[in-house]
Symmetry: C2
Subunit: 158 residues, 2 copies
Amino acid sequence: MQMGEGVEWGLHCCVTLGWLADEGPVPIRRLAQWFDLPQEYLKKRLQALTRAGLLASTPGVKGGFSLARAPRDITLMDVVTALEGPVEPFPCTEIRRRGVSGEGAGREFDRPCGIAAAMRRAELAWRRELAARTVADLMDHSPGSAERTRRGYRRLVG
Amino acid sequence: MQMGEGVEWGLHCCVTLGWLADEGPVPIRRLAQWFDLPQEYLKKRLQALTRAGLLASTPGVKGGFSLARAPRDITLMDVVTALEGPVEPFPCTEIRRRGVSGEGAGREFDRPCGIAAAMRRAELAWRRELAARTVADLMDHSPGSAERTRRGYRRLVG
């Protein structure tokens, strides 16, 4: 059970775009250069974040990506869902209804399966944590990186 | 991000073996028949649970699988880890150290990455839930199924 590498890329790009909000849209090639990532793969991830309404994509020579909302309005859950799709860590196929197990169950299975419910509870605990934390929290975590990022970016494009 | 189907199989088998504790070891073909599952695939899962010390495998004509510990001493986390390996939902590759991002960072990256830490916190919330719930809890959740399982099994082997 593992997320794709795109989640790490997407989260770092959101935080970096938050720090660079005053610099205007950031071209994809600058972001790829920033983290030394393959540009075409990164583009697909950023397009997914754009489709989800988390990033804005500005076309043209001066175009690029920027956050589409305030950093405090983008949760980690938003980013994970945009990149991984509707995550369902425990796929329940109701095997309890199959074979001998399902015979003569009557209305017993009207009640949700205790196993699926327990796994779902754990998933919800995970979701709650991710939904409680935003890109703004991540930005605030590293004030030193914020300043260094802005300086580094101005040097890069200037 | 999704677990394999083996987790559902493994959890249901543990609960069923808990209910059938007084019937002696349950042959793999009975368990496969129970949930209408492919026997060879199921066997691999049960062998993984056995290697992890959660099930006991008794050889011979009257052999089969049984719980190796009391149901209250087998957590859902134990079962998931046995079947999925050491789960690390968020693979962090420290892209912050790469490219322009990593240049001139000095001791900045001595501090753990805020993104990795936030993702890890969510993972720990998930782990805590799974570690707090045991096969005994799952058995207790469905007393009706327990009784029906014992009756059905006796009919099957009798």
